[in-house]
């Protein structure tokens, strides 16, 4: 599992944040471009809904725009960003739960995000297979308890290390690792049952 990260020649997140706070407005766009995909995917894993993930990811970056000038620039940027993302997702889930008890959308009626999957010309049967896998995985993740879902989403969609997840969630690193292993076991059970 690999995620893109900034080449060493590119400015770090913290450098971009400092430059933005120093008046370089272009740096905000650079931050958004760097993190839009992992944040979007994190929100997508948490909600299971493409449109909601779009709204949440948008809210996250608007919040970054608001909060960055008063944020502590001496602390790592990435966990700070994911704290915002996680809070936005939890707010959304709380609101959704309050509005509708059938919070998990019906996968049969859900518009598949297959068109949005990053890919380079896969074959049709590969697309179908991957679409099925996506659906199964999405449903299995949505059935996970919130704390496990968060850890799994931060790990796979956000590409965070266990240390970064621990900082984001304010949990000891060993607890995060335990949650992760437990979440994997639950996912394995769910998926095996389905297959």
């Amino acid at each position: 599992v690999t995620v893109p990260s900034a080449p060493s020649s590119e400015p770090s997140d913290e450098d971009l944040a400092r430059a933005y706070c120093g008046g370089n407005a272009d740096c905000l766009e650079a931050i958004i471009r760097r993190y839009m995909k992992p944040i979007f995917n994190f929100a997508y894993r948490m909600t299971g809904n493409y449109a909601e993930a779009d709204d949440i990811a948008q809210d996250v970056f608007v919040q970054v725009y608001r909060a960055l000038p008063s944020a502590r620039l001496d602390l790592p940027f990435k966990p700070w960003l994911y704290v915002i993302a996680r809070n936005k997702c939890l707010d959304y889930l709380k609101k959704k739960r309050a509005l509708d008890f059938s919070a998990i959308e019906n996968p049969d009626t859900h518009e598949s995000p297959i068109d949005a999957i990053a890919d380079t010309d896969p074959l049709p049967d590969e697309i179908l297979e991957r679409n099925d896998l996506q659906r199964m995985l999405r449903e299995a993740i949505l059935r996970l308890p919130e704390r496990y879902r968060t850890v799994v989403s931060l790990r796979y969609a956000g590409g965070l290390s266990f240390g970064e997840i621990a900082t984001t969630l304010s949990l000891p690193e060993n607890t995060v690792k335990t949650h992760f292993q437990r979440a994997k076991a639950l996912l394995r059970r769910e998926l095996t049952a389905e297959l």
């Binding site: 599992v1 990260s5 948008q58 909060a67 700070w80 990053a118």
Partner: protein, 152 residues
């Protein structure tokens, strides 16, 4: 772009492989443009208000200060015309006045005081104090934007 392994801290297993196979979804093409538009629109509505705020504080402060000058002048005139100064000078020249008829003297003094003018000056002073306090707080919060705080 350089890619880095995100699973160096645990062994790669079937679940990792599944996630790797299903890949990541792409945000809509106009995502960055939308966020930047939202941020810019928010900035353009916020900044004029932030720029206006110090002017409003200065205007309120100047108004309260001018009011204080006018009211203090009025209070002085009122003191001069109500006979309070003559009562005070009588006491200064004859100190037995207070010991012989204290209640009569106090009653005369209280009735001669321009209460309305005094109350107006007091209210204006309180207003001036409040404006100063809020203006200082506003100035301090403006400075704190550049000061680091805890992550949101």
């Amino acid at each position: 772009m350089r890619e880095r392994d995100v699973m160096p801290e645990s062994e790669f297993d079937d679940i990792d492989a599944l996630f790797a196979r299903t890949g990541m979804v792409n945000p809509p093409d106009d995502f960055v443009r939308r966020v930047m538009l939202l941020a810019k629109s928010e900035g353009s509505t916020k900044q004029p208000a932030a720029r206006r705020a110090p002017i409003l504080w200065v205007a309120a402060y100047a108004l309260a200060l001018t009011g204080l000058v006018v009211l203090a002048y009025g209070l002085g005139i009122a003191f001069a015309t109500t006979g309070t100064p003559s009562l005070v000078s009588a006491l200064v020249s004859d100190s037995t006045l207070l010991s012989d008829a204290p209640s009569a003297y106090a009653e005369a003094l209280l009735s001669s005081l321009p209460w309305l003018h005094m109350a107006a000056v007091l209210v204006d002073l309180v207003l001036l104090g409040l404006i100063t306090w809020f203006a200082l707080r506003f100035a301090a919060s403006g400075k704190s934007v550049a000061r680091p705080t805890s992550p949101a």
